[in-house]
């Protein structure tokens, strides 16, 4: 039943993409068709996921269709169903938003391709999570890459966009190489490409398992954006249209997490160092991500770096889960994996919401530079409110959903502290790191929200701003509502994630205590809202007979205050970043005021990603240089070419015939 629904939804997606393609130059029609298709498919898909998560049966279907190798085998277990839910949920919101967002391009450029490839991207992701055959998996994986590549390069008349697209292509392909090797190794052992066969082959020997795990870490980590494999991410996500950024940041990069978990289920019991390695990786990604985000002035780039951060948090969760699994502690395992999976869903929701908010701002002002904006809350109230919800959620604060998943991971880390040996140390190490990440995230999103929506407009760009249209508002409101729902009712969230968690962790039932704790989170949220309401009423009552006047802001008695004197994003982030000066490479161009009557002063800083500038680019240069040396071969002189033939012949003759002679 549920699997059939998935197949139907895939059909709907492809059909709508095809129709949109046939619509040709009638972009409006294409947009309508594509959106309707995506939403319809999402409804079916969410239903399918729901049915599966409610039940327990693992459905598998195989077509006799013969790929040159491998078959088309699909299945829907809890893990697939959970990710299916995430994909379709975020995709539906993004699609509706896109319907409003892309209208701005009508007449300016063809938007047909954007619609088509959006639906293809969703198709590929769904195919990926239901694939039960390595070849099909790889096909879906590459289709996902290609579709998203075309979406990223939608505005390919911009040089930056083209470069971003190329970087993305390079990263994806190098990652794909790791995956090819990974699956070839697994097949060589199992004798077949089917995941079933690989499962049946049992846990591989330690060496092979380690190799597979590392390959998966590189291959899937590139897509997921593990530091330092994330370099494509902060370029690609801003380049794409905002609803695509929402989809890519919200779910596409999570496909890497899905792949990692899927492979872990094939590799048998994990040793401790896997979990420890993931904890390290997650810590680095999380910290680097949030720090670079703090240093950004470009709104979408900042959000992209936060995706790196949140993937880091997810990785920490997976790491804790692995640590628990390595020591056979069901509680820690469940808390770690549960936090990770729930954060996948949550981050999909609030990051989608935030990118949509960013899109609305971009749409309304045409500006992405934070320091050119300000005071938008008055002109775009809905966007401001929903963005605030997203900001609080991504900062991991109660009573919103981001807090729930981080709470699970943290509790897991606390409990993991009592695991024997290195596992305990690794688990406890998560605590200060995640705490620091959280604190920095709060700082960053206060900065973003404050500089964007509060205070006074810094330039006249925000002054012309207008609230987003209904098609763009509705998904933002819905997304915000979901963030609140999953935050105040964590039991709903865990009900969705639990089956998948049990499957990945190889557990039979939810360990005692988890549900109780989550229930108490509801009561905390309730009390919090109650007290807040009381205080609101109290304030109203106190002010009933009092004067409420509006006056100028205190500026030490100085009168000539102008909007440009407000604190900018750069100045806000300065004291937070200063202690990390060495860790993130900032180039500061400052002309500080000097003398009693300083004439002019300016300050701007720019951060260049260390992973790219210091690690990967030089490496690539070296490789290219190595290849470049070969090019002397082609001199253009015939005699030389004939000499090649001559020498080759002699060498091979003497080598082989000599061998035979002896």
């Amino acid at each position: 039943m549920s699997l059939d629904l998935v197949i139907v939804s895939l059909g709907v997606l492809l059909a709508s993409a095809l129709l949109a393609a046939l619509a040709g130059r009638r972009d409006r029609l294409a947009l309508a068709l594509g959106t309707v298709g995506a939403v319809g498919a999402s409804v079916l898909g969410v239903a399918a996921a729901g049915i599966r998560l409610a039940g327990t049966d693992n459905l598998v279907a195989e077509t006799p269709w013969r790929l040159p190798l491998g078959r088309i085998a699909i299945g829907l277990d809890a893990l697939s169903a959970f990710f299916l839910l995430c994909v379709y949920l975020v995709a539906a919101l993004a699609a509706v938003y896109g319907a409003g967002y892309l209208k701005a391009y009508l007449g300016e450029r063809r938007i047909g391709p954007a619609v088509i490839f959006f639906n293809i991207l969703v198709t590929a992701m769904v195919g990926l999570v239901v694939a039960r055959d390595a070849v099909l998996f790889l096909v879906a994986w590459e289709a996902m890459t290609v579709a998203s590549f075309f979406l990223v390069t939608f505005e390919d008349d911009r040089e930056t966009t083209r470069r971003a697209g190329f970087t993305y292509l390079v990263a994806s392909q190098l990652g794909a190489v790791a995956l090819l090797v990974l699956f070839a190794l697994l097949r060589a052992r199992a004798g077949g490409f089917g995941f079933g066969a690989m499962q049946a082959a049992g846990a591989p020997p330690a060496g092979l398992a380690a190799a597979c795990f590392l390959l998966a870490l590189v291959g899937f980590g590139t897509k997921a954006g593990f530091w330092p494999l994330h370099v494509w991410l902060p370029d690609a996500h801003p380049a794409a249209p905002s609803h695509v950024s929402a989809l890519m940041s919200g779910v596409m990069i999570k496909m890497g997490i899905y792949g990692l978990l899927r492979i872990v289920t094939l590799l048998g019991a994990p040793p401790v160092w896997w979990g420890a390695l993931l904890v390290v990786s997650g810590a680095v990604s999380g910290l680097a991500g949030v720090l670079y985000a703090l240093a950004q002035h470009d709104l979408k780039r900042l959000l992209a770096y936060h995706s790196v951060e949140n993937v880091g948090i997810i990785t920490l969760g997976v790491g804790v889960g692995l640590l628990g699994a390595s020591r056979g502690d069901p509680l820690v395992t469940f808390l770690g994996y549960g936090g990770a999976l729930l954060h996948v869903l949550n981050h999909g929701l609030f990051k989608g919401l935030l990118f949509q908010g960013a899109g609305s701002v971009l749409h309304a002002t045409g500006v992405r530079d934070l320091d050119a904006l300000g005071g938008l809350a008055r002109r775009m109230p809905v966007t401001a409110l929903t963005f605030l919800v997203g900001a609080v959620a991504i900062s991991g604060l109660p009573p919103l959903n981001g807090f729930v998943s981080e709470w699970l991971v943290l509790v897991g880390a606390f409990r993991g502290g009592s695991l024997a040996g290195g596992a305990g140390v690794a688990a406890v190490a998560v605590l200060p790191v995640l705490a620091l990440i959280g604190g920095l995230a709060v700082a960053c999103f206060v900065k973003v929200f404050g500089v964007l929506f509060l205070g006074v407009a810094r330039t006249d760009a925000p002054a012309r701003a207008h609230e987003a249209g209904p098609l763009m508002r509705v998904p933002m409101v819905l997304g915000a509502a979901l963030c609140v729902l999953l935050g105040v009712a964590p039991l709903v969230a865990i009900a969705l994630a639990a089956p998948a968690v049990l499957e990945v962790g190889g557990l039979t039932e939810v360990p005692a205590g988890v549900v109780g704790g989550l229930a108490s989170l509801t009561s905390v949220a309730g009390v919090l809202l109650g007290v807040t309401a009381l205080l609101v009423l109290a304030r109203a009552a106190l002010l009933r007979r009092r004067s409420v006047s509006v006056g100028p802001v205190w500026a030490c008695g100085y009168e000539g205050v102008t909007p440009r004197m407000q604190y900018t994003a750069a100045s806000f982030a300065e004291p937070v970043l200063a202690p990390f000066g060495a860790a993130i490479q900032r180039t500061v161009h400052a002309e500080l005021p000097s003398g009693y009557f300083p004439a002019s002063a300016r300050y701007d800083d720019h951060v260049s990603d260390m992973a790219g500038e210091r690690l990967l680019v030089p490496a690539a240069r070296r490789v290219l240089a190595a290849f470049g040396r070969v090019r002397v071969l082609q001199q253009g002189r015939l005699q030389l070419y004939l000499a090649y033939v001559f020498v080759t012949l002699l060498v091979l003759l003497i080598w082989q015939v000599g061998a035979a002679g002896r």
Binding site: R631, Q634, Q635, G636, R637, L638, Q639, L640, L642, A643, F646, L653, V657, G658, G661
Partner: protein, 217 residues
């Protein structure tokens, strides 16, 4: 009477060395014609006494070889060389004396090769393999060392002569049609090369192949 065959092959070797050493186009071409004539005689000398190959076949072969290797092709080359107005070889990549020495060295190498590669079947002429190898290698030397298109074609011809010598090991086993086909191929090849040389001469008004390395990476 392997003696006669060996004598022939010795002469072939000498002409080959002469070509490698000579600097004048006309001389090269004439020498290659001579070599062709010598080779044309080879089948008769080698196989006629044995009698296990129909004489008609051998005669046909020899006449064909004579016509092509010693007649038409050299004429073609001389003509295109004249049209291109080339007389003396420009300073080759490898000076003539050195190339003569190299040639000698190659002869030695081919003697070694022939020793490693024990001849199968009945030994009809002790010099067959060494001469074959040597001619092939000398042809290569010409191809690599010379700058004029014509001399390079001469090198190609010598290479082909070398191959022809090896072909003698199985004379008569290949149907006449095919053998003549192979000869025809050679003829057409040189014909097309001749046309190319003509065009080169017209395009660059000389046939120094140094003009021909504009295509490179």
């Amino acid at each position: 009477m392997t003696g006669a065959a060996d004598a022939l092959l010795l002469l072939v070797l000498i002409t080959g060395l002469f070509i490698v050493w000579s600097g004048r186009l006309a001389a090269c071409v004439r020498a290659i014609a001579v070599q062709g004539a010598l080779l044309a005689a080879l089948p008769l000398v080698m196989w006629a006494p044995g009698g296990d190959v129909p004489v008609a076949h051998l005669v046909l072969m020899s006449v064909g070889a004579l016509a092509v290797k010693a007649g038409i092709i050299p004429a073609l080359l001389l003509r295109s060389a004249r049209e291109a107005g080339a007389r003396r070889e420009v300073e080759p990549y490898v000076s003539l004396h050195v190339s003569a020495l190299l040639g000698a060295g190659l002869v030695v190498l081919s003697l070694w090769l022939a020793r490693v590669l024990v001849p199968p079947g009945p030994v009809t002429a002790t010099l067959l393999l060494p001469a074959g190898f040597a001619t092939v290698l000398l042809g290569f030397l010409m191809l690599v060392a010379r700058k004029y298109a014509v001399t390079q074609v001469v090198g190609y011809l010598m290479l082909d002569n070398g191959v022809f010598i090896f072909g003698q090991t199985l004379a008569g086993s290949i149907p006449v049609v095919v053998e003549l086909g192979i000869l025809l191929d050679l003829l057409v090849a040189v014909f097309v090369m001749g046309i190319a040389i003509y065009h080169i001469g017209r395009e660059f008004d000389h046939i120094d192949t140094r003009a021909l390395n504009s295509l490179r990476d």
